[in-house]
């Protein structure tokens, strides 16, 4: 049953990718149908879990032994519990909606069949990731989603920028993967296995003193390596640079992979390995720091971008920062992190789909400075996007409010100076979130209709998607039903999910058997925190209104302050990477090629040349005169005779 869940999209991917042109007509329907099949199966499984007792909700399905080697047993086994079924539902649910959306969005793309194949592949890999029962299989899914992400970011491969972005994403993720593989190796050497249950149990046993203690250093190392992996996949500092570029992919991809599901895999990993993190407080601290830094970093970047998708990407980074931070808080934060993850999945996917819808209606223009006043032309998009917007800034009552508020509370509840710092950071983050999201909202849907009097063409627009350049003034229009319906569904989620999960701590208790949960004790009351959050949010919205609502937005971006310029360039992180890693690497490889050619090969060729030179000297002796040879023979004979005589004499 669990295997079937994965098999459906996998089958879809195989059929669509190997099927050839014959399937071009029906490909997207097959892909979508299989995504829904998977969702249906997930729902059935969920229902099955609900029917069981709270402590009895972990199902393990052992398929076969994957890599059986002396002392090293990796199985293909799936584990269904509250945590994974949550993800399953999120993935297949949002995934199915985005499949539907893509039918409309990718209508004019001749390679739509392949697009759906990749989407299905992604679903399968993501499901493997969340359902795996051991870290190695998780690694398989982990890299699988990386591959799907690579393929989808680079889907418009004919654009060099897309191809580069895809490569970058994969490479940065590989650095993270290194962390994951080292973590697995460490687990193997420490525990002799890397299946979830034995590893986590023995960590628990070791820390509670029930078994031989494991060095905390080892656990910290494992945790940090897992964090590295999470950073790569979830675009956390310092491995965040790929996410902005990943927006080169088609918008549904950004919505599904780079907002709702894949990028949250890091959070899943941390929550899943909670026992290890709990046993390694130093690592937990690092996790929270990474989360806090990314939170602010992403928010600042989001404030400065004019590209609607990149602004949203910055936001994604920032929101995942929240989740990572929460996950770093330990048992008080795990469930909250997942809850924010789910609500974020709804509203961020909705936002991206809305952005896609806007682009769809605007000739694939992505520069917000060339939007404006679109609410009249795309009412459905406006409403759904607006609901998503309210959700993300934490407008009271909407889903973002519940989840984010809980995180802020938990951060304060960390206690001590750390708690205050983290809490403040999250609060400030909430303010900035409100600011940049309002900015996006205002620039896109309000204000004057700047797209009317654009200069004829914008040839220097760097990120024009391929359909762009129809020329002339765009004619904003609402998107077809097939696109708006998923947006509406997601908007529903954005509005109600939070309340549904949050009221009565329903979600937290659902996850408790897996992630364990304890109530934090914030130094200030929960109500105060909520009030502060709302206030900060209001300030953010107000500031944004001052900047972008009251006065007209210039079509050409002003130079901006130092911080703005830095944020536009992703706070120079890319430049740093470029100078240090890319250039340095290029020089290194080039000099190594030179070394290989001249030194390593040179030694060999030099030897050959030396022998050659010697032999050409010796060749002069071989002058072809028989008499000359005879002399040497005679001399040789003489020497032999002398040797014989000497031997005799001795």
């Amino acid at each position: 049953m669990i295997a079937l869940l994965i098999a459906a999209p996998l089958l879809g991917a195989a059929v669509l990718l190997c099927g050839g042109r014959r399937l071009d007509k029906a490909g997207h329907w097959i892909g979508t149908a299989l995504a829904f099949v998977s969702f249906g199966l997930g729902a059935v499984l969920f229902a099955g879990l609900l029917g069981r007792g709270a402590e009895d909700r972990t199902l393990v399905q052992h398929l076969y032994s994957w890599v059986p080697v002396e002392g090293f047993q990796a199985d293909v086994a799936f584990r269904l519990d509250q945590l994974s079924i949550t993800f399953v539902l999120l993935i297949t649910g949002v995934g199915s909606l985005i499949h539907v959306y893509s039918i409309g969005y990718m209508e004019h793309d001749e390679r739509r069949r392949r697009f759906f194949g990749y989407l299905n592949l992604f679903l399968a890999a993501m499901l493997i990731l969340v359902l795996a029962d051991n870290y190695l299989l998780l690694y398989l899914g982990w890299e699988g989603v990386g591959l799907a992400s690579y393929l989808l970011i680079g889907f418009w491969q004919h654009k060099p920028s897309a191809a580069t972005a895809a490569k970058k994403a994969f490479l940065v993720n590989r650095v993270g993967d290194m962390g994951l593989s080292i973590a697995v190796m460490l687990m193997f050497t420490t525990f002799g296995t890397f299946a979830f249950t034995p590893v986590l149990d023995s960590v628990g046993a070791a820390t509670s003193g029930a078994a031989a203690p494991v060095g905390e250093g080892t656990l910290t190392a494992i945790a940090l390596m897992l964090l590295l992996a999470a950073c790569g996949k979830s675009a956390q500092v310092p491995l965040q640079s790929w996410l902005g570029d990943a927006m080169e992919g088609p918008t549904p991809v950004s919505a599904l992979i780079h907002a709702a599901t894949m990028v949250t895999a890091g959070v899943y990993l941390i929550v899943r390995s909670g026992a290890i993190f709990d046993a390694a407080p130093d690592a937990q601290l690092v996790v929270t720091v990474v989360g806090a830094v990314t939170l602010i970093f992403g928010a600042i970047v989001g404030c400065a971008k004019d590209d609607i998708k990149k602004a949203l990407a910055g936001s994604t980074m920032s929101q995942i920062g929240y989740m990572v931070l929460a996950a770093g808080l330990g048992p008080i934060g795990y469930a909250v992190a997942i809850m924010h993850l789910v609500t974020h999945g709804f509203f961020k996917a909705g936002l991206f789909l809305g952005a896609g819808s806007v682009m769809h209606g605007m000739n694939d223009e992505v520069d917000m400075r060339k939007y404006g006043g679109l609410r009249k032309y795309m009412p459905v998009t406006f409403v759904t996007f607006g609901l998503g917007y309210l959700a993300i800034i934490g407008f009271p009552g909407l889903s973002g409010f519940f989840s984010k508020d809980l995180i802020i509370e938990a951060a304060f509840a960390k206690g001590g100076v750390q708690g205050w710092i983290l809490g403040t950071v999250t609060l400030v983050g909430a303010g900035i979130t409100a600011y940049y999201m309002t900015r996006v909202m205002l620039m896109t849907f309000f204000g004057e209709e700047r797209w009317r009097n654009l200069p004829a063409a914008s040839p220097d627009a760097p990120d024009v998607e391929p359909a762009a350049g129809h020329g002339g003034v765009p004619h904003p229009h609402e998107s077809p039903k097939v696109m708006t319906v998923p947006m509406i569904v997601l908007a529903f989620g954005s509005v109600f999910a939070g309340a549904f999960f949050g009221i009565g701590e329903r979600f937290v208790h659902w996850l408790e058997p897996v992630t364990s949960f304890e109530h934090g004790h914030p130094p200030v009351s929960a109500l105060t925190v909520t009030a502060a959050t709302v206030t900060v949010m209001a300030i953010g919205v107000g500031l944004a209104w001052l900047h972008y609502g009251r006065r007209p937005v210039p079509v050409v971006a002003p130079r901006g302050s130092l911080l703005t310029r830095a944020a536009r360039r992703d706070l120079y992180q890319d430049d740093f990477n470029h100078v240090v890693l890319v250039r340095g690497g290029e020089h290194l490889t080039r000099s190594l090629v030179y070394v290989d050619h001249t030194l390593v090969d040179g030694v060999v060729n030099g030897t050959a040349a030396g022998v050659g030179g010697l032999s050409s000297r010796m060749r002069r002796l071989q002058n072809g005169f028989a008499r000359s040879y005879a002399v040497s023979m005679f001399g040789g004979t003489a020497v032999l005779v002398a040797a014989t005589l000497l031997m005799r004499a001795v």
Partner: protein
């Protein structure tokens, strides 16, 4: 005396080679079909061997022993263990694909040429190499092994020097010059290694009084045969040098890029996927089996060299401008992994190394053969001459990508399993080594993706607009390889079952145990 299965497996391609060479000049196509049939028949025999082999049984099975040169105690002594079977299967499996991929590589330039014989020669040489390689996997007599180890150089020399890419940026003349340079370099390197090994083989005979591997190993294990530490080390170095050249290990690697660059793609596959495997196989079987103490003594140095190979090969691959040379350097990096796995002396490492040999053979074959198809279409090996291929030839690009992903060890494809095993094995004993080796996987992603990006994506180059996609024959070559990569990636159990007992034997040869985990995990 039962049917000599092992001999038959090797003799069949040898006879096939003779028969292929004897086909009249005008019947080229018949020669090709004959070669293909013979290679397929060999595959069938190899499968029979694999089926008859019982993984849980004796160490060497299906053994055959005939007196050959009684004066020196040289015997025609064959036998296979699990590792041998696996590699034999790999060889027998790859040859039909190589034959099929090289179907037109040795055709005459003018199709009507009546007296053109190299076509027959090409296929005959390939079969000859197959025979030699299979025999080296089977031989349990050191001297016998040495003979085939060296003899395979001769057909390889002609394959490299005689049949290059038709297309060469420097023209036909330059191609011929570089080809002969590459062939001579290949030959000299390997001959040098082989000569030193010959000295060591003789030394071994002097020291042990026998050429028979099982006898010597048994005698050493029982303590009947004492070898001085210095003798053992010297002999080990002699053997290891030859295998390190063949494998190739840094800094003895420079022949490989030349050879693989200048040879046609199928021959390049033959070099790296089949012939070079003899080197790593022999390290596992002979170096560790005959000289366990010396192997342990040399381990630190070998590990460092292997690490250098991994990182260095990958970095150089990044810097290459020539597709085939890039694959060659990638192979050097992979051979670093294999050697690392062999010498970390853990079950995981050695199983991983053996699986790595098989998987690397398949994945490199897939990548290189597709690259060869691409090169033969455009007539250039330079990466810069390509761009946007996926637009015009999506299937070619897709298979190329899968080959590339296999090279970078994507989980789900076969090489991942082996690479991870090697890394785990290395990490378990030498954590630092494991971590450094892990950098190799990032670099592998770098060179593969850079290659893919530069050749396949971006705007279509005007010269490539009419590039045809893969033909049926080419698809027939690539598709099974890819299917195999995926199958072995998700279900490597058949292979591991074959290999595990052999690895257990090797581990007991070197008297090493896997490091115990720090904590016995709660089961």
């Amino acid at each position: 005396m039962s049917f000599p299965l092992l001999t038959a497996t090797a003799v069949l391609p040898a006879l096939g080679a003779v028969a292929t060479a004897a086909v009249p000049a005008a019947r080229r196509t018949a020669a090709k079909w004959l070669a293909l049939l013979v290679s397929l028949a060999t595959l069938v025999l190899a499968v029979v061997v694999a089926v008859r082999f019982e993984p849980g049984g004796a160490r060497y099975q299906l053994t055959e022993t005939y007196e050959w040169i009684p004066a020196f105690g040289v015997r025609w002594e064959l036998g296979v263990d699990g590792i041998g079977v696996a590699l034999m299967l790999l060889t027998a499996l790859l040859i039909p694909f190589i034959v099929l991929a090289g179907w037109h590589d040795a055709d005459p330039l003018e199709t009507r040429s009546k007296r053109w014989r190299p076509t027959q020669g090409f296929f005959a040489l390939i079969l000859m190499v197959e025979a030699m390689v299979i025999l080296s996997f089977e031989a349990t007599d050191v001297f016998l092994f040495y003979i085939f180890f060296e003899a395979m150089l001769i057909p390889m020399y002609f394959l490299i020097g005689g049949f290059g890419d038709r297309a060469h940026q420097g023209g036909e003349e330059a191609a011929a010059t570089q080809r002969s340079y590459a062939a001579v370099k290949f030959l000299l390197y390997n001959l040098a290694g082989g000569l030193i090994m010959l000295a060591a083989v003789i030394g071994l005979y002097v020291a042990a009084g026998s050429f028979s591997l099982p006898d010597i190993v048994a005698a050493r294990a029982s303590g009947e045969l004492e070898m001085g530490a210095n003798t053992e080390r010297l002999l080990f170095l002699g053997f290891f040098f030859a295998f390190a050249v063949k494998a190739p290990l840094w800094p003895l690697h420079t022949w490989l890029p030349n050879a693989m660059g200048e040879a046609t793609a199928p021959v390049a596959v033959l070099i790296t996927a089949v012939v070079d495997k003899v080197g790593t196989f022999a390290m596992l079987r002979f170096c560790l089996g005959l000289f366990p103490e010396a192997s342990k003594w040399a381990t630190p140095v070998v590990l460092v060299l292997a690490l250098i190979s991994i990182v260095y090969g990958a970095l150089l691959a990044v810097g290459q401008r020539d597709i085939k040379r890039l694959v060659a350097y990638a192979s050097i990096s992979h051979f670093g992994f294999i050697i690392l796995g062999i010498f970390v002396m853990t079950s995981q490492g050695q199983s991983g190394a053996t699986l790595y040999m098989v998987n690397h053979g398949i994945s490199t074959a897939a990548l290189m053969l597709v690259a060869g198809f691409l090169i033969s279409r455009r007539g250039s090996r330079l990466i810069a001459d390509y761009g946007g291929v996926q637009k015009v030839a999506p299937v070619l690009a897709g298979t190329f990508l899968i080959g590339g992903l296999a090279t970078l060890s994507l989980p789900g494809l076969a090489p991942f399993v082996s690479e991870f095993l090697v890394l785990v094995g290395a990490f378990a004993r030498y954590p630092v080594v494991g971590i450094i080796a892990t950098f190799g996987i990032v670099l592998a992603a770098l060179y593969t993706l850079v290659l893919y990006q530069r050749t396949m994506t971006g705007p279509v180059k005007p010269e490539l607009v009419k590039l045809p996609d893969l033909r049926v024959r080419e698809l027939a070559v690539v598709a099974p390889l890819i299917a195999l990569l995926i199958f072995l990636g998700v279900y490597p159990k058949p292979l591991t079952d074959l290999v595990n007992p052999a690895v257990r034997h090797t581990m007991s040869d070197v008297q090493e145990h896997d490091p115990e985990p720090e904590v016995e995990a709660a089961k």
